[in-house]
Symmetry: C2
Subunit: 194 residues, 2 copies
C-alpha cells in the first residue's frame, strides 16, 4: 500500500501503475507523474564479543519489545555500513567496538530489508542500556536465550558466528531468510557447501 | 531537500526537524506528524566472467551515458540481494550468470548508496544490450577502459577483483568511497592489510 497524496504536487492522485520504460508497479502521481520509488532498507549491526561472550540487548521498543537482539538498526543517509554498525552498538548498548570483519549478509525479502552483521571486539567489557534497550548483557554461547531472540535474522547471524568460531575459521555468510508458513527457512548462497 | 507536501495528509507542511526520541533531522509533517524516513539504497551487480574476460555495459542512460559499467542497479522490494544482482545482469546484458561469491561491499555515503558486487560466471559467452545499455562486451584485464568507467565504485570493484584473481585468492572487500575534492578516495576496512 502506498500513500494517498503526491509529496511533490499535493494532489490526492497517487496510483499503482507501471511507469513507461519500467517493468514493475510503482506509486505514480496521476497529476504530475512523480514516481515514489521504494527500496529495501539496510539493517547494520554487530556481533560484539568480549572474550567468549557476545553482547545482546533486551528490546525496549516495538517490534518485539522484551525479546533479545543483537545491537543493530537502520542505516542512515550520509554514513557507511561500518559506521552504522558501530553507531547502533553505541546507541543501543553504550559500547565501543572495533570491527573485525563482515560475518553475514542476510536478505529478508518479506520485510524489504538486508541485514549486514559485523564481527566486532568490545574495547572493554562495559555496556549499559541505551534508550531503545531495557537491558544489555554478555552471554556465553550456552547462555544465549535462543527461544527469546527477537528476529530470525538475529538467530541466524548468531548461529553462523558460533559455528565459525567452533570451526576456528570466520567466513562471510550470504543467504536469504524466507517465510515458510508461520516459520522461516534459510536459503544459503555462500559459502557453498562442499 | 525534502518534498513540500505530506504524502499521508496532503498538507503543504513538511518541515525538517528532529522528531521526539530521535537524534537527527527528518522531514516531518507539521499537521499530522508523519515522518518521511529516507535511507541509503542498495546497488547490486555482478563481475560476470567468461574465461579470462569480464562483462561490461556501455550505459545508454543518465547518469554517465556513454561510459562503461558493471551490470548493476537498484535492488527492489520483494527480492534478495542475490536475485537483484542476477536480475540486473539479465536486464542490462541479457546474460545469465551463476553467482560465485560476494566480492565487495562499498558504501558511498555522499550518494546514500551501498554497492554489493558478486563474482559470477556466465553460462555462455553470449550477451547483448538490454534497454539501458548501448553495447555490452567481454574485456580482458588489459583491455578494460579504465578512463571511461562510469563510477568510482565500478572502478574500485574491478580493481579488487583483478588483484584477487592475480593473487589466486578471492576475498570479500569492505570499504567506503569518500569524496576528496573533485576526486574520490577509498577507505578500506577489510581485509585488514598485514
Amino acid at each position: 500500500m502506498h500513500n494517498k497524496y503526491c509529496p511533490r504536487c499535493g494532489a490526492a492522485a497517487m496510483r499503482a501503475c507501471v511507469p513507461e520504460g519500467d517493468n514493475r508497479n510503482r506509486a505514480v502521481c496521476a497529476e504530475c507523474s512523480y514516481i515514489d520509488y521504494r527500496n529495501p532498507r539496510i539493517v547494520a549491526g554487530c556481533i560484539a564479543a568480549w572474550e567468549d561472550r557476545v553482547l545482546l540487548c533486551l528490546r525496549a521498543i516495538e517490534p518485539r519489545a522484551g525479546a533479545w537482539t543483537l545491537p543493530a538498526g537502520f542505516m542512515e543517509n550520509d554514513e557507511s555500513v561500518s559506521e552504522a554498525a558501530q553507531r547502533e552498538t553505541l546507541e543501543e548498548a553504550n559500547a565501543h567496538v572495533e570491527l573485525q570483519g563482515l560475518s553475514s549478509v542476510l536478505s529478508v525479502p518479506y520485510a524489504n530489508q538486508v541485514h549486514l552483521m559485523f564481527r566486532a571486539r568490545l574495547f572493554a567489557p562495559s555496556c549499559s542500556p541505551g534508550p531503545e534497550s531495557r537491558a544489555v548483557r554478555l552471554f556465553q554461547e550456552q547462555q544465549v536465550p535462543w527461544e527469546e531472540l527477537a528476529f530470525s535474522s538475529v538467530s541466524q547471524a548468531l548461529k553462523f558466528y558460533f559455528a565459525d568460531r567452533s570451526a576456528g575459521r570466520f567466513q562471510l555468510h550470504v543467504g536469504d531468510i524466507l517465510k515458510h508458513g508461520s516459520d522461516w527457512v534459510l536459503r544459503e548462497h555462500f559459502p557453498v557447501s562442499p
